[in-house]
């Protein structure tokens, strides 16, 4: 792990010195965009409510409130934080989605530390946001109980740059990483959103994005995350390793003959966990091949260039997703898949009403309605 930390710390030190020099230069009265004592502060975010109707339920529920606090402290320093208030579990659940401190070192490098949204894939923390996701639900394998972290606690470096008329972006981070669960019901699963680590091991992860088209309409990303030690310190599971990879695809374009904008979004995630022997509730040992994977494909079309206001604000979206779970895991079983189709009506650029029909294997067919207001 030192092989990773030492170069990263060296890089951090060099860049902090460089950034400090830049901050000092920015204090010249000639052109400071933000003076000391004049933080630029704003609150944005969104509120959501979901209605569910299936053969077992007809109810309003899952009200979420997610304010985002942003401080532009100076030209180089920035803080973003998002607490999350959720009621989906039947009671008010408050969590810290992220509290991320960023140092803009130069045009191509930003360092950050805190609790942040790791760019492992593009769905969680980005395409899955309430006013970006065209559906009230997550694809199978991409929500809670799926693959990959929503939040990480640690530090990282990120940035973007162009070469000719193509662009690249990158993220690299070191974090506490996922925590292996070993209780009989959840053996082999992970706690992805822990506030503290459970051993000295650290996860190393990142994503490289490539935008090959000159108009940036297509982005293809490759992500990875590895952690050599995921079990509790001192336990027989301490050295159980975790390896994850993801590929994501995002295209946005206009179809002039149809007067419409179209989106095509897809992602595939794969996880491989080292072999380990767990114990069931009766104390009997068992093991299994722990290599789940998941993917989803979404297509959406919105006739945004039609002059009729009502039609202009409509959007139709379809999504198919599949989650391959370990057959012999206590939480596994058969693969599952889900199909959803949604008719959305945009009230504003970040506010919409979603009407969705969803059919998921082994679940009752369901109708959802969701209201999302961005602010």
């Amino acid at each position: 792990m030192n092989k990773i930390f030492l170069p990263l710390l060296l890089l951090l030190s060099c860049n902090l010195l460089q950034a400090q020099e830049k901050i000092d230069n920015n204090q010249s009265p000639a052109a400071p965009s933000t003076k000391d004592g004049q933080n630029k502060f704003a609150i944005f975010g969104n509120a959501e409510m979901t209605f569910l109707s299936d053969k077992n339920n007809v109810q309003f529920g899952e009200v979420n409130f997610k304010p985002i606090f942003l401080w532009r402290i100076s030209d180089n320093l920035f803080v973003e934080a998002e607490p999350e208030f959720e009621t989906g579990g039947g009671s008010l659940d408050i969590g810290l989605e992220y509290a991320n401190m960023c140092l803009f070192v130069n045009d191509y490098l930003t360092l950050h530390a805190g609790r942040f949204l790791p760019k492992f894939g593009a769905y969680r923390g980005r395409m899955g946001e309430g006013f970006i996701n065209r559906f009230p639900t997550d694809p199978v394998g991409f929500g809670d109980g799926g693959i990959g972290a929503m939040n990480e606690v640690g530090m990282g470096a990120q940035g973007g740059f162009g070469i000719g008329d193509v662009k690249f972006n990158y993220d690299l981070y070191v974090s506490n990483g996922p925590i292996l669960l070993t209780d009989p019901e959840n053996a082999g699963q992970f706690e992805y959103e822990g506030y503290v680590g459970n051993n000295k091991g650290k996860a190393v992860g990142g994503r490289v994005g490539f935008l090959p088209l000159t108009n940036s309409s297509l982005e293809i990303g490759y992500s990875f995350q590895n952690k050599k030690k995921t079990g509790d310190a001192g336990s027989p599971y301490e050295n159980v390793g975790l390896h994850m990879q993801a590929v994501d695809f995002n295209y946005f374009g206009h179809i002039t003959p149809m007067l419409s904008d179209v989106r095509l979004i897809a992602e595939y995630k794969y996880q491989k966990v080292d072999k380990a022997t767990y114990f069931d509730a009766g104390g009997s040992p068992f093991t299994f091949d722990n290599s789940p994977s998941a993917y989803y494909v979404t297509g959406a079309i919105r006739p945004v260039h039609v002059h009729n206001l009502f039609v202009h604000n409509l959007e139709i979206a379809g999504r198919y997703s599949q989650f391959k779970r370990p057959a012999d895991a206590p939480w596994g079983g058969d693969d599952t898949h889900q199909f959803a189709v949604s008719l959305d009506y945009w009230l504003k650029w970040n506010s919409l009403v979603k009407l969705t029909y969803q059919d998921q294997k082994d679940e009752p067919k369901a109708f959802y309605a969701q209201v999302v207001f961005g602010f």
Partner: protein, 93 residues
């Protein structure tokens, strides 16, 4: 469920054909970021993940903050951030 998959696959195929045509078209004009206007970059980058907000949506100060937030969230380049925010500030205020 299988029929949904087949229907969805056919739709996806049709969609992919449209995309291929669009992609070939969009490849035709090569332009570096530094040569693009803020309006162009706003349309190309903001709309990729969400509907692009118009210039009048926020104040000049808020646009400065939002620019930083988007740079962190999506890794747009510094040049893109600067040009997009200048466009949004100058057009809407």
């Amino acid at each position: 469920m299988k029929k949904y998959f087949i229907v969805f696959s056919v739709l996806l195929l049709a969609f992919s054909i449209c995309m291929t045509v669009m992609t070939i078209t969009s490849c035709a004009v090569s332009q570096k970021v530094k040569d693009k206007t803020g309006t162009q970059l706003w349309g190309e980058n903001c709309g990729r993940c969400h509907n692009a907000p118009g210039p009048g949506e926020f104040s000049a100060t808020n646009w400065d903050i939002i620019g930083r937030h988007m740079r962190v969230r999506t890794n747009i380049t510094a040049t893109e951030e600067k040009k997009i925010i200048e466009y949004l500030k100058n057009t809407g205020n």
